[in-house]
Amino acid sequence: MQPPAVQIERRVAEAMATIEARGLRKTFGTTVALDGINLRVKEGRILGLVGPNGAGKTTALNAILGLTPYQGELKVLGRDPWNERNQLMRDVSFIADVAVLPRWIRVTQLLDYVAGVHPRFDRTKAESFLAKTTIKRTSKVRELSKGMVAQLHLALVMAIDAKLLVLDEPTLGLDILYRKQFYDSLLNDYFDHSRTIVVTTHQVEEIQEVLTDLMFIDRGRIVLECSMEEFDSRYVEVMVNPEHVTAARALKPIHERPVFGRSVLLFDHVDRDQLAALGELRRLSIADLFVAVMSNNANQPQPPHEVTAHQGTPAR
């Protein structure tokens, strides 16, 4: 028995995290899809979940959405997703990829249905989002282009007053105009600091400006976890002048790659001024860090949990 004050404090702390996972594990036969993940996503964050194919991103999202059973502890908005999926879905929206809207349904029917079953759906809002598109109310989903289906799905989701939005490859197969528009509407017309967004995508460069937090996942484990402020302050990429290469290498870069015959070195936790003397500082992209972390990770097959370089840094 804990004193009530401690209980309340714990509860407040729990209520603040939108997603809280401890030792989240999922296996398919002998394949380990999630290998004991610890995860804490706070309200008001936009978390990018990045990883190679088969890393366990979708499995993690499916567990969060109550679509798959799992081992370990997981609470989403204080609920157990597997046992309380339908209650949870009042506060959680998700777009799995653009192909899931039923092709036979008409736009008006879709609006009727969602309005009829979802207590937090604002039909007027959805209609006004749709008014900005060329989507006809009488069209069936199968008659719409891929980009229009994504717009339609986004209009539905943005009209739901949800606390958590999960996007699994939401812009897969869309052209760059639609992709840009997708994230612009999301940020301008939907996101506020009482909502939380978790997004996975392979087009990481396009969401770099959108994210507040970043997480790399590989072979069922979190291999990097940091906020974007941390990302900007911690990692520096330097195009090293040829005469300084040896000196630069002595500072233990986490990755090195050649660009136009010169060496570009990536440093973690190394003083910026010191590096500026060695060459030209470059703006680091998520994609470059991803490649660096993944190639390091691949060199150490199945690293033990504790010694993984960037494991366990709390998101801020």
Binding site: L101, I105, G116, V117, P119
Partner: protein
């Protein structure tokens, strides 16, 4: 530790005034959703109804002469001969509804996995129970009600047409008196309840298989049953399982009605109805118990199901 519901994190959302669950009707909209997706539920019976009416229209050529000949015979023969097309129309439409219902059920929980839309349905606050019940309501409630309305309407149109044909010969009333539409509607309603409850485990089985099989739901639903029958026949040279299946398909009528030998299968009087006997038949309740179990498994199973 703390049992007060207001303090548990899980209930905090439920007491949120932002919810207006009273205005959402998930089951109602899920049933409408089924009708949007599967228009054959009402289109197919309507097409069959039109065909039946067309056939009847053609059959009424030369009707006044034939009617005069029929009216010379005894009362039972008159009822049988005059009522025959009406009973046939009803039976054809009931059979249509059965076929639609079976094929609907075989697809109901597989289609959403095949087109991946299950991910969308599961992203909405609609429980697996509501979803499966909405699908089960199509063969158990929607189709019977629909088919009742269509049959009564078709029979009414047939009566009107035959009256129009017989009017010049002064025999217009002879159909209405031999085929009492109101009484027949009561018999029809009872028959539909009898058949639907008797067939409930068939529909529930089809639903269960549609949620389980990745493909070829019809084969998965039918072949195992055949295999059991064949196995029993070869191993023990008995056919209890086969006769059980036959009883499940066709057995309802024997307990629900009292057939009169000389009139064949026609039911033309309310005294032939045996609801007391039907509703106390163990076979009915065993079937309903199986249906409930199959539906419960289908609900549980949908939780684990994703796109195929």
């Amino acid at each position: 530790m703390n049992t007060s519901p207001n303090n548990t994190p899980g209930s905090s959302g439920v007491s949120d005034p932002g919810y207006n669950s009273a205005t959402t009707r998930p089951l109602y909209w899920s049933v409408r959703r089924e009708l949007w997706e599967n228009r054959s539920i009402y289109v197919a019976p309507l097409i069959v109804a039109v065909v039946v009416l067309l056939g009847f229209l053609i059959s009424t050529i030369g009707m006044p002469e034939r009617r005069q000949a029929v009216l010379l015979r005894d009362a039972a023969y008159q009822r049988a001969a005059i009522g025959e097309p009406y009973d046939a129309a009803a039976m054809i439409l009931i059979l249509t509804a059965f076929i639609i219902a079976v094929f609907y059920c075989l697809d109901a929980l597989q289609g959403e996995r095949r087109d991946r839309s299950i991910l969308f349905w599961k992203s909405l606050p609609v429980s697996d129970l509501t979803t499966v019940l909405s699908k089960a309501s199509i063969p158990l409630v929607i189709l019977p009600v629909l088919i009742f309305g269509i049959i009564v309407f078709v029979q009414f149109l047939m009566l009107l047409w035959s009256s129009a044909i017989l009017l010049p010969s002064g025999l217009a009333a002879t159909t209405w008196t031999r085929f009492n539409l109101f009484q027949q509607s009561v018999i029809l309603l009872y028959s539909l309840i009898v058949i639907v409850l008797w067939h409930a485990p068939i529909y529930a089985w089809a639903l269960l298989i549609s949620g389980w099989a990745r493909r070829a739901t019809f084969l998965w639903a039918v072949l195992p049953l055949l295999a059991i029958g064949v196995l029993e026949k070869i191993a023990f040279d008995t056919s209890h399982f086969a006769s059980m299946l036959k009883d499940r398909l066709f057995g309802a009528a024997d307990t629900a009605f009292a057939f009169q030998q000389h009139r064949g299968v026609a039911i033309d009087s309310l005294v032939q109805l045996r609801p007391g006997r039907y509703f106390t038949t163990p076979g009915l309740w065993i079937g309903i118990a199986f249906a409930a179990a199959f539906v419960a498994i289908a609900v549980r199973q949908r939780r684990y199901r994703g796109p195929i």
